[in-house]
């Protein structure tokens, strides 16, 4: 669930309080950089396209030239600078007590618990951006049709590997 709309908590530190209040650990702070670069790569083509439309369509028509370009780049900058760190702060997880707990989002917050014994198999993945920052994401597969995969991004690679080993010990090989 991605959050694209700014959700302003009343307390500016509410995002931290959110995880702490629910007894969750935050993900690695470097994850906000991963999100920022990913957002940048998505926003950049849109901003460039807006500029091209401005130059090639609005200027010949005698429209308000420059308005669209400025608006697109300004909005893009705000989205890239402010939102990723908020989104990263709203991810939280807790491992232990025989279960993995993953919470995400604020506007639409979903708090998922997967008992280790219900895990079918586990993936640890790493994308090119994550590799720069030494992060990995953990994907847990269950046999349920809803929530058949639960993804937890923004983990330090060593932590992700350790979590995988922890869960792996609990997996039952035959679920018949």
């Amino acid at each position: 669930m991605t959050e694209t709309i700014a959700a302003h908590p009343i307390d500016p530190f509410a995002a931290d309080a959110l995880n702490a209040g629910e007894g969750l650990d935050p993900v690695d702070p470097a994850y906000s950089h991963v999100l920022r670069i990913a957002t940048l790569l998505k926003a950049l083509p849109v901003a460039i396209a807006a500029t091209l439309v401005d130059m090639l369509a609005i200027r010949p028509e005698g429209g308000p030239y420059g308005l669209l370009t400025v608006a697109a780049w300004l909005l893009g900058t705000i989205i890239v600078v402010t939102f990723p760190s908020r989104r990263a702060q709203r991810w939280g997880f807790k491992i232990g007590d025989g279960q993995l707990r993953v919470a995400r989002g604020w506007l639409f917050r979903v708090d998922t618990i997967v008992p280790f014994v219900r895990v079918q198999h586990i993936d640890v993945g790493q994308g090119p951006i994550e590799r720069w920052f030494g992060l990995s994401h953990l994907v847990v597969h269950t046999s349920g049709t809803h929530n058949s995969t639960v993804t937890l991004p923004g983990l330090h690679s060593d932590l992700a590997a350790a979590m995988r080993e922890t869960i792996r010990r609990h997996i039952q090989t035959d679920f018949a």
Partner: protein, 511 residues
């Protein structure tokens, strides 16, 4: 066809003599199937004909049929299977060879299916459900072997499963299994023709109407008489022939009534026909480890549903049939039911006491009538209200630009809102022992009985509307799909949701 000579290296586990082929009657079935398939060849024939070379049409068709038959024969020749001590091996393919080994341990379900022609020939298709992710197309099939051989094969696999698989205490049916040890098969539920007729009446469906209507359009010029039952003018015409025209013109509503009666007739007739085709001679039997269902008039299917694989029970009904005390029971299982259904219909149309008897076999009990149901917050009607608002807005805009049809959405909007509001009162849940019961719906009431042990994961979801109200939605990940949607308890107080989640998962932690 040089591949025919180059056989794959023989499987060490299977002796050469164990190999079996499909029933020879399968070749007859291939000829029957050739009919529809040759339609694909028609454009080519037409092209030859248009080119003016009519003389080649018959030889070309003959060659096509001959090649098809040769290929079918080769395919039959190159398909062989062997039943080993604890696995089944299937080799197939004419050009591209395929060698597949399926351990009995991995076979979750063996289905036997017979089409109309197959029944006449005494053969059956055996399907092995392995739970592979690819769905039906990835599952192995023996198409087809003799019916006796099919049943023997299934008995072999079942017997193996029974000895090799240890009892898993976490299974939903664990308790029931212990209570009802391997007894002989006994009939749990059957449908008499009278019951089928009643069920068919409730299955009133106008789906067939579109087909009939289209056919009427298509054959309008072909039929010897020019009569469309949906056209009131035709009814006036027929009245005219009997000298009733004056009377009918004066009473045009008669034509309307005639059309309405024919609509009703088609609706009821198609409902009854579909019920009879699908559920003729419906039998649900309890076998030592499974529930077994056979049904169907033209295509008979025979499905075994291992009791321990049942994940949840779903009771659905309709607002009208509930007044008469009729309900339907479906079981959600790891194995899926055919290509269309995701869950297993085990009681298509029955009384609650009949459903209770079936539920008792799988160790699930309905909450008693005295059990208080906790209700979801009325906010669940919000979605309907928003939809109604959008419809009303659309109607107003249409009216504003001078479209008189705008009155239709404007009139429907309050109905949508009222429906959503009434439905919201039916959302509720109850906790019964180690099971949670969830009910919803007004037009189509649905009760889900979900044992804690089936829950694979739990979502506790809030959003910007639920959070200020202190509410949360619980969503459960349960193995096996259901055609009736995911299992969730919407909009209940956050503390209660958290406590329920802890209880459900706590149940898991102990096991």
């Amino acid at each position: 066809m040089n591949e025919a000579a180059a056989a794959l290296p023989a499987d060490d586990a299977v002796a050469e003599t164990d190999w079996q082929r499909l029933h020879p009657a399968t070749l007859l079935l291939a000829i029957v199937k050739l009919g529809p398939r040759s339609v694909n060849f028609l454009p080519a024939l037409a092209a030859i004909g248009i080119a003016g070379k009519w003389i080649y049409v018959i030889p070309a068709l003959g060659l096509f049929l001959l090649l098809s038959l040769v290929f079918a024969w080769l395919a039959w020749l190159r398909f062989r299977f062997a039943v080993g001590a604890d696995e089944i091996v299937i080799e197939s393919g004419v050009l591209a060879r395929q060698h597949r080994t399926i351990p009995f341990d991995r076979i979750q379900d063996v289905s036997i299916e017979q089409g109309l022609v197959a029944r006449a020939l005494g053969i059956a298709t055996v399907g092995f459900e392995t739970g592979a992710g690819g769905g039906k197309k990835d599952d192995a099939r023996l198409d087809a072997i003799g019916l006796g051989a099919a049943q023997a094969l299934r008995a072999t696999i079942r017997a193996h499963r029974g000895t090799a698989v240890p009892v898993v205490a976490t299974g939903a049916g664990g308790g029931a299994e212990a209570a009802a040890p391997a007894t002989e098969d006994r009939l749990l539920f059957a449908m008499s023709p009278k019951r089928l007729l009643v069920a068919g009446l409730f299955n009133f469906s106008l789906a067939a109407l579109a087909v009939v209507g289209a056919a009427m359009q298509l054959f309008d010029n072909v039929l010897p008489f020019d009569f469309n039952i949906f056209n009131p003018l035709d009814w006036i015409d027929i009245a005219e022939q009997y000298g009733l025209d004056q009377w009918v013109v004066a009473h045009r509503w008669v034509a309307g009534v005639g059309a309405a009666i024919s609509l009703l007739f088609i609706g009821f007739a198609s409902g009854i026909a579909m019920t009879f085709l699908a559920n003729w001679d419906f039998r649900l039997t309890r076998e030592p480890r499974a529930l077994r269902r056979t049904r169907g008039l033209t295509t008979r299917t025979d499905v075994a549903l291992p009791v321990r694989r049942v994940q949840a029970a779903i009771i659905v009904t309709g607002w009208l049939r509930r007044r008469f005390g009729w309900h339907e029971l479906r079981l959600q299982s790891l194995a899926s039911d055919g290509e269309k259904e995701k869950d297993h219909q085990v009681v298509p149309f029955g009384r609650l006491d009949e459903i209770d008897a079936v539920l008792a076999e799988i160790g699930i009990a309905r909450p008693g009538a005295d059990r208080p149901w906790a209700h979801s917050h009325r906010i669940v009607a919000l979605g309907g209200f928003v939809g109604a608002g959008i419809a009303a807005l659309g109607g107003v805009i249409a009216l504003a630009v001078g479209q008189p049809t705008g009155w239709i959405p404007l009139a429907i909007a309050p109905l949508i809102a009222a429906g959503a509001w009434i439905s919201a009162h039916f959302h509720g849940w109850a906790e019964v022992g180690e099971m949670v019961a969830i009910r919803s719906g007004w037009i189509k009431p649905k009760t889900t009985l979900l044992p804690f042990a089936s829950v694979q994961s739990v979502d506790l979801a809030t959003d910007f509307i639920l959070r200020p109200l202190g509410l949360a939605t619980l969503r459960f990940g349960v193995p096996g799909g259901s055609a009736l949607g995911s299992h969730e308890i919407p909009a209940i107080p956050l503390d209660i949701a958290k406590a329920l989640r802890a209880r459900i998962l706590g149940e898991r932690g102990v096991a």
